[in-house]
């Protein structure tokens, strides 16, 4: 047995040899999917625990019996640095355990068939080709830009780093396998800071829209007014949002498949007299599989791989998959093409006078820097991520939060203050919510997880992030602003109030020092005593790393979406959003990409 197996057995309190073998194998698989630094971290963490075990008990971790393992866990969690290491190691291990130990709802009924897409793997794409326009990235922004340009009669090639996923895979493969495949770096992307922020990004034909929750908010008026003041033309933005909503078939989520998690959120909000409603989503036929984050097994969620991309392909656009854009080719200040790498390391080049960059907020600045176009001092700076946190309420009756709509209900009572609460429950183990404890107590929590209802809150944040790096790996730094930490604390208390109002016996705060609160006062105290570094955060919406605006000094991208300092390079993804959009940004990104693409000559 390896150090990792011992760590799995100790931290997750697994005693059955069969269970242990399966969960360990999963953990190994996760390790293999992680990028080298994270993989190294996981191994080093497990090795450290093993060494500590030898020092404390004289035995390797996997030589201890169950009782001594549990005692060792108690020892670890009582000491601050060791407790932090345990909390960090729990994230991948819970991911491994969650999908192994908890039942996954099966996908019943016939799925909607996949949309026809003209996808060619980069290995079969010629080394030399030409196009009227190349769109880098097939996510929300790229798909919309490609569709707009293709419908104008241009020959468009969409370059996608990921591959195409068919609905059959979403039905047949276990969620964890899909999860590791669908996300960049197996979903382990992080923004460094105190606290660190998990920053998962989809990597597939359709980008993050394949794995997002499907929540579709229109850009709030106050955000648009702020952008107008920065010189961004937003007069016709409403029309663009309308078109995007029609493309995605956005509608309010019917209550039927909402699931108990969402109903409890509605109930709690109603008792508090707070504004709450099922969210508007792009999944009119959602049956509540609760697996949005790992690809919808019914194709019910209309990611762009089911609408904008097939429409672009119908207009003649072609998608090259598994092609990682290496650099934009520039001659005398004019873009002339794109060079990309295939997985085997060989290169392909597409000559084109128009390059639309839609590689996502963390990758776009890197690509521009690799291309020698990263000269603007604001490029990569001022990233907003919508830091999000969550709490869970323990109920007497089973909730089975992973059965139903993954992100079901929006509570907008505090939205004016930049706090948006959404009932969000991921598939088992995939939630960023850290169950408290270690060893047998954690195992009991896992076995009891079906009684937990989970709420999440994201806040409108200051542009506190920065994307460093000029090679292939983005080094993201995010320093939570003081007022944002305060806002997150307020959000934690507000979510707790909703859960208590809905009848929760206790609330799991996710805070390492005070993981459980039995009433509001206890919760308020626990939150007030927690340092910012104790908050467990995930950022799902990185935006604003190549801001659009009229001010040349502030914005690397001009109001029409052209990158300043070069001709023929347009940015059409979340990078261009001038400030935090304050809502789930899919509609905003797509409408912005539509507007930018319409202006490309």
């Amino acid at each position: 047995m390896s150090a990792l197996t011992g760590t799995v057995a100790a931290l997750l309190g697994i005693e059955d040899a069969g269970d242990l073998a399966r969960v360990s194998a999963r953990a190994e698989a996760i390790g293999r999917a992680l990028p080298a630094p994270a993989r190294l971290g996981l191994r080093a963490g497990a090795g450290t625990l093993d060494t500590l075990s030898r020092l404390a008990t004289g035995h390797r971790l996997d030589d201890l019996d169950a009782d001594r393992r549990d005692a060792f866990c108690a020892l670890l969690t009582s000491r601050e640095p060791a407790a932090r290491l345990v909390e960090t190691l729990k994230i991948p291990l819970l991911l491994a355990a969650g999908t192994e130990l908890l039942p996954i709802p099966g996908a019943a009924g016939e799925p909607r068939p996949d949309a026809p897409l003209d996808c060619t793997p980069s290995g079969e794409w010629p080394a030399c080709s030409t196009a009227d326009a190349v769109v880098i990235g097939s996510g929300a922004g790229g798909a919309m830009a490609a569709r707009t340009l293709a419908r104008r009669g241009m020959s468009v090639v969409i370059m996608e780093e990921g591959r195409r996923f068919a609905v059959a895979e979403f039905r047949d493969r276990p969620p964890l396998d899909r999860f590791l495949d669908l996300y960049r770096d197996g979903g382990s992307s992080m923004a460094l800071g105190r606290p660190p922020v998990l920053l998962p990004e989809g990597r597939a034909v359709g980008g993050t829209t394949v794995v997002n929750s499907g929540t579709c908010y229109r850009t709030p008026g106050r955000v648009l007014r702020r952008w107008a003041a920065l010189g961004v033309p937003v007069e016709d933005f409403g029309g663009h949002l309308d078109e995007v909503e029609a493309t995605l078939r956005v509608a309010r989520q019917p209550v039927g498949p909402l699931g108990r998690n969402g109903l409890l959120a509605l109930e709690g909000a109603e008792r508090l007299g707070w504004r709450a409603a099922p969210l508007r989503r792009n999944a009119p036929d959602c049956v509540g599989s609760g697996q949005c984050a790992a690809g919808c097994p019914h194709n019910a969620k209309y990611g762009v791989h089911l609408n904008a991309l097939p429409q672009a392909c119908a207009a003649g656009a072609r998608i090259v998959t598994r092609a990682r854009a290496e650099r934009i080719l520039v001659e005398r200040g004019v873009a002339v093409g794109v060079r990309a790498h295939r997985p085997d390391g060989t290169a392909l080049e597409i000559l084109t006078p128009r390059v639309v960059v839609a590689a996502g907020a963390t990758q776009t600045p890197l690509l521009l820097r690799r291309s020698g176009l990263g000269g603007h001092p604001e490029l990569g700076r001022g990233m907003a991520v919508h830091p999000a946190t969550n709490v869970a309420g323990r109920f007497a009756e089973p909730v089975v939060s992973w059965s139903g709509v993954m992100q079901s209900v929006g509570i907008e009572e505090l939205h004016g203050d930049g706090i948006l609460i959404e009932a969000t429950a991921s598939p088992p183990g995939m939630s960023s919510f850290p169950l408290p404890g270690a060893g047998r107590s954690l195992r009991r929590e896992l076995e009891d997880a079906d009684r937990l209802a989970v709420l999440g809150a994201m806040i409108a944040d200051a542009p506190s992030g920065r994307v460093h790096g000029a090679r292939h790996r983005a080094l993201v730094r995010y320093d939570l602003a003081g007022e944002d930490a305060a806002r997150l604390r307020r959000a934690l208390v507000a979510m707790g109030r909703i859960l208590f109002a809905a009848g929760a016996a206790e609330v799991l705060t996710g805070l390492p020092r005070r993981p459980v609160a039995r009433d509001e006062a206890e919760l308020t105290h626990a939150v007030a005593m927690a340092s910012a570094a104790d908050l467990h955060l995930a950022g799902f919406h990185p935006t604003g790393t190549a801001k659009l605006g009229a001010g040349e000094a502030r914005a690397p991208v001009d109001p029409s979406g052209r990158l300043r300092g070069v001709r023929g390079v347009h940015i059409a993804d979340a990078s261009v959003l001038p400030s935090c959009p304050e809502v789930n940004p899919q509609l905003t990104i797509m409408a912005m990409a539509l507007r930018i693409a319409e202006g490309i000559e």
């Binding site: 030399c128 001659e331 060079r339």
Partner: protein, 463 residues
């Protein structure tokens, strides 16, 4: 020809040949086929490694069992400025499809030799669908020496206009051809006159000479002159350039494509054409060209398919005082070109006509030396309907007799840049007899003799 930056290149060009070999993988086939490209590039200006030029590319695509065809296209050479050498070619595959080859070498500082010798190519059809992908390589060890030896830097295209805005200049482009099927001659004359005073004007005429009939004649212009990058001559509907002649004059209209032509024939010395020191000079940039297309005249249409003819040029101060001209296509690329003229310059106008003779036979040109020196040993008798040239060419004797049939001759009035009038009598139905004799013992022995019955292109200009 311009560079991609829009700068007009100097008149000199860079010509070189290149051979690349490799493999072609066709879509839907598992295996690869051997492929060979034999290319000749012609680029504007002297090739500079740091420059960025685009020029013509022609050659042959060979893929055994699939394609073996002439290919033509363009080549961009910018190894430093854009780190790219791009080849674009069109050819016809064995199955009749018109296909396009497009590929480029992306020059990488880390691997300069490999990146500049390996060429990935994509073959697409007319709809842009990918037909195949090739990877070719220039064999440095085998071909480098030959590649470097093959570099040539020829002078400017003799068809391009030479006029640079001076007053008192006359520039002429004229094309004469005979349809082998009907014996009909076609003469298209483009002229730029920059008078001593006033605006330059472009005009000209066309004539068709059906056998046994009165020639059909029509004028076009005058039009204002504007320099064109795309054409050698462009005035109103009349355009000559890029191997194509189109236009209309009176009852005649034409749309012709010119191909081949052989190396230019310098009737006047090369130095005289370049330096412009003589009152005027004539050369034949395309002495043995073929013409395809249609000529419409007086309600009739003459379809041409490989008609033989030539395109010639004159540049100078004006017409001669008296002159005679002959273009005789002797077949198989052999031609005889004669200009006999008396200058209008005071003093020189009293001299006898000076005959410039160029005879190209089996690829050898006679006389061998300078045409002006050779002209001193020849005599011409200019007259109508018959004019003659005779004298010595090296150790040979030549006798040329040209007869212009009166009924099949058109007379055209000209005005020199100084306003002086001249009349030129043109016929493409001239009978020509050329005898080349060699000294044998004490007498002359006929070495070669040519007779052209009604297919000689000739004119006689008088005042």
């Amino acid at each position: 020809m311009t560079t991609p930056t829009g700068k007009v290149a100097s008149g000199r060009r860079t010509v070189f040949s290149e051979v690349m070999e490799g493999a072609l993988r066709l879509a839907g086939e598992d295996g690869e086929r051997p492929m060979r490209l034999e290319l000749t590039a012609s680029l504007p200006g002297m090739l500079r490694p740091w420059g960025d030029v685009e020029g013509e590319l022609s050659g042959r695509v060979r893929v055994p069992g699939w394609a073996d065809d002439h290919a033509a296209g363009s080549l961009r050479v910018a190894p430093v400025a854009a780190r790219q050498i791009r080849y674009t070619l069109e050819f016809i595959a064995g199955d009749g499809r018109r296909l396009r080859l497009d590929g480029w070498k992306t020059v990488r500082a880390g691997r300069p030799v490999r990146s500049m010798t390996v060429l990935p190519l994509t073959v697409t059809d007319a709809d842009g669908a990918v037909v195949g992908e090739a990877r070719l390589r220039f064999d440095v060890r085998r071909d480098m020496a030959r590649f470097l030896r093959g570099f040539r830097f020829p002078g400017p295209d003799p068809m391009r206009s030479r006029w640079r805005g001076q007053a008192g200049r006359l520039e002429v482009w004229y094309t004469t051809l005979t349809d082998p099927a009907t014996g009909t001659g076609v003469w298209i004359h483009h002229e730029l006159v920059a008078p001593d005073e006033g605006e330059a004007r472009a005009h000209g005429w066309a004539a068709v000479f059906p056998p046994g009939e009165t020639p059909v004649f029509g004028r076009f212009g005058p039009f204002g002159w504007s320099h064109s990058e795309d054409a050698d001559f462009a005035a109103g509907p009349v355009v000559q350039g890029g191997g194509r002649l189109t236009g209309a004059a009176g009852a005649i209209s034409w749309d012709l494509r010119e191909s081949g032509g052989g190396p230019p024939l310098f009737t006047f010395p090369r130095w005289a054409w370049r330096s412009e020191v003589l009152p005027a000079a004539q050369i034949v940039p395309k002495p043995a060209a073929a013409y395809d297309g249609a000529v419409r005249f007086g309600g009739r249409t003459l379809e041409l398919d490989g008609a033989r003819g030539a395109s010639a040029r004159i540049y100078g101060h004006g017409n001669a005082r008296r002159w005679a001209w002959l273009h005789a296509d002797l077949g198989g690329g052999d031609v005889c070109e004669i200009v006999a003229a008396v200058s209008t310059r005071p003093g020189m106008d009293r001299l006898p006509p000076l005959p410039f003779v160029r005879l190209r036979v089996d690829g050898v040109e006679l006389p061998g030396g300078d045409p002006l020196l050779a002209a001193l040993r020849l005599r011409a008798g200019i007259g109508l309907p018959v004019w003659t040239v005779h004298g010595r060419i090296g150790d040979r004797r030549i006798h040329v007799r040209v007869t212009l049939p009166q009924d099949e001759t058109v007379s055209v009035d000209y005005a020199d840049p100084d306003g002086a009038p001249a009349v030129c009598h043109n016929s493409e139905r001239a009978d020509v007899r050329i005898v080349l004799a060699r000294l044998a013992g004490r007498g002359w022995e006929t070495e070669r003799e040519w007779r052209l019955d009604g297919t000689g292109h000739a004119e006689v200009g008088l005042r």
